[in-house]
């Protein structure tokens, strides 16, 4: 197989574009794609300070690497989730990358700062570990970006992540979440501007980029991820993609071009301040404070408990757990 641009021997095939690239051309094309995406969506302005959410995996480290090479003013933030040796390896990958690039890596330890780790959350609370992990990341990354005076929070969500999320939201017709799925979420009410510069690049491309750049990312999958809904959606999309290359990109990028305007009016959420921590929320208490209280065995009061019960229904938990949560809220 030959490179589409220079006819050298190819190292990666991008079937959705009917293209293949050698190492040098692929790295160039990847960085150009990131730069074009940032420009098109006005993700990062001149002089903006960018906080990159870093997990130690291929996507976030590939993103940080590309942003550094494109000349952006970035720092990384790593969140210690307390998932045993997996977290140890993840931190080592993030720290090793930062050191090799002479970049600043900030760290937050979930257990040290908030009194619980993700395995404990999975055992004590009714939410799945992935749900608590996701809401903890959203909360802590946003708070760190606001407190640190950053202009932009960048995450490594790729095309596969976004297509799987859109599929899940569509299967549930969760119109409010569909309306909020965008490569750029502007700052509002205590929430920093959030951007996803890799949303046009597939997981294969981000992994290849990280590998070719010599980034020692964490290859292992999180040990708590078994049965994760997002993975099931990815499997479903990959099964269709295998027979119809490009369908994933057409689904998500087509949504951005033609579907998103139809859902805009569904984004009705009013953002206020959490009654406990003051961080932005659409309810009385933010999701993080609700989860934290549950894990600690605390009660937030009827309004918070009712909110938790309704949220659990959205997570499609087993009926008996939802019933228990509702009963506790009464």
């Amino acid at each position: 197989m030959r490179c589409h641009r220079c006819k050298a021997s190819a190292v990666i095939e991008v079937r959705r574009n009917n293209a293949a690239f050698c190492e040098g051309c692929f790295l160039t094309v990847f960085r150009k794609q990131v730069a074009r995406t940032i420009d098109k969506w006005e993700m990062i302005g001149g002089g903006d300070r960018v906080l990159v959410a870093v997990s130690g995996g291929k996507d976030s480290l590939a993103l940080w690497d590309a942003l550094l090479d494109l000349g952006h003013d970035t720092s990384g933030l790593y969140l210690g989730l307390g998932i045993g040796t997996y977290s140890d390896r993840s931190y080592a990958a993030a720290e090793g990358f930062a050191r090799s690039r002479g970049a600043t890596l900030e760290t937050v330890d979930l257990a040290g700062e908030h009194g619980f780790d993700i395995p404990t959350a999975g055992r004590r609370g009714p939410r799945s570990t992935c749900a608590v992990c996701g809401l903890s990341k959203r909360y802590i990354f946003n708070r760190a970006a606001v407190d640190g005076g950053y202009d932009v929070l960048a995450t490594g969500h790729n095309l596969d992540d976004e297509a799987a999320t859109l599929l899940g939201n569509t299967l549930r017709w969760d119109t409010e979440f569909i309306a909020r799925q965008s490569p750029v979420l502007p700052a509002r009410g205590g929430m920093v501007k959030k951007v996803k510069p890799l949303h046009r690049l597939s997981e294969l491309e981000t992994a290849a980029f990280a590998f070719l750049r010599g980034i020692d990312y964490v290859v292992e999958e999180c040990p708590l991820v078994a049965g994760n809904t997002q993975l099931r959606y990815k499997d479903a999309m990959n099964a269709i993609e295998a027979r119809s290359p490009g369908v994933k990109a057409r689904f998500f990028l087509g949504y951005l071009d033609r579907g998103a305007p139809l859902f805009r009016s569904e984004d009705r959420a009013e953002v206020g301040a959490c009654a406990r921590c003051g961080q932005p929320t659409t309810g009385t208490y933010c999701a993080f404070c609700r989860a934290k209280a549950q894990i600690a065995g605390e009660r937030l009061g009827p309004a918070g408990d009712r909110q938790v019960a309704e949220e659990l229904a959205d997570e499609v938990l087993p009926a008996e757990l939802y019933e228990i949560a509702l009963a506790e809220a009464e």
């Binding site: 197989m1 190819a10 190292v11 990666i12 095939e13 079937r15 293949a20 190492e23 959410a53 870093v54 997990s55 995996g57 291929k58 996507d59 976030s60 992935c130 749900a131 992990c133 996701g134 990341k137 995450t155 490594g156 969500h157 596969d160 992540d161 597939s202 997981e203 294969l204 981000t206 992994a207 290849a208 590998f211 070719l212 290859v219 292992e220 999958e221 999180c222 708590l224 991820v225 994760n228 997002q230 993975l231 990815k234 990959n238 993609e241 295998a242 290359p245």
Partner: protein, 67 residues
């Protein structure tokens, strides 16, 4: 030919002397979901393999909550 599969880690012996595409079909692995590494370099489906080759097949799919 030694083939190291990741997540979970295991090693299998497979017949060489054919294209990577055929090995992936035998393993029921979708080529869009893995990096295939030989001697520290990425290879594509059309690459011819030797009996003496050692491959790593590394999944690119990650789940849970990103980043």
């Amino acid at each position: 030919m030694k083939v190291r599969l990741r997540n979970p880690d295991r090693e299998v012996d497979m017949r060489g002397g054919r294209l990577l595409q055929e090995v992936l079909v035998e393993l029921a692995v979708d080529p869009d979901t893995v990096l295939v590494i030989r001697d520290g370099e990425l290879i594509t489906r059309g690459t011819s393999l030797d009996e003496a080759d050692a491959l790593e097949i590394r999944p690119v799919i990650s789940g849970g909550s990103t980043p």
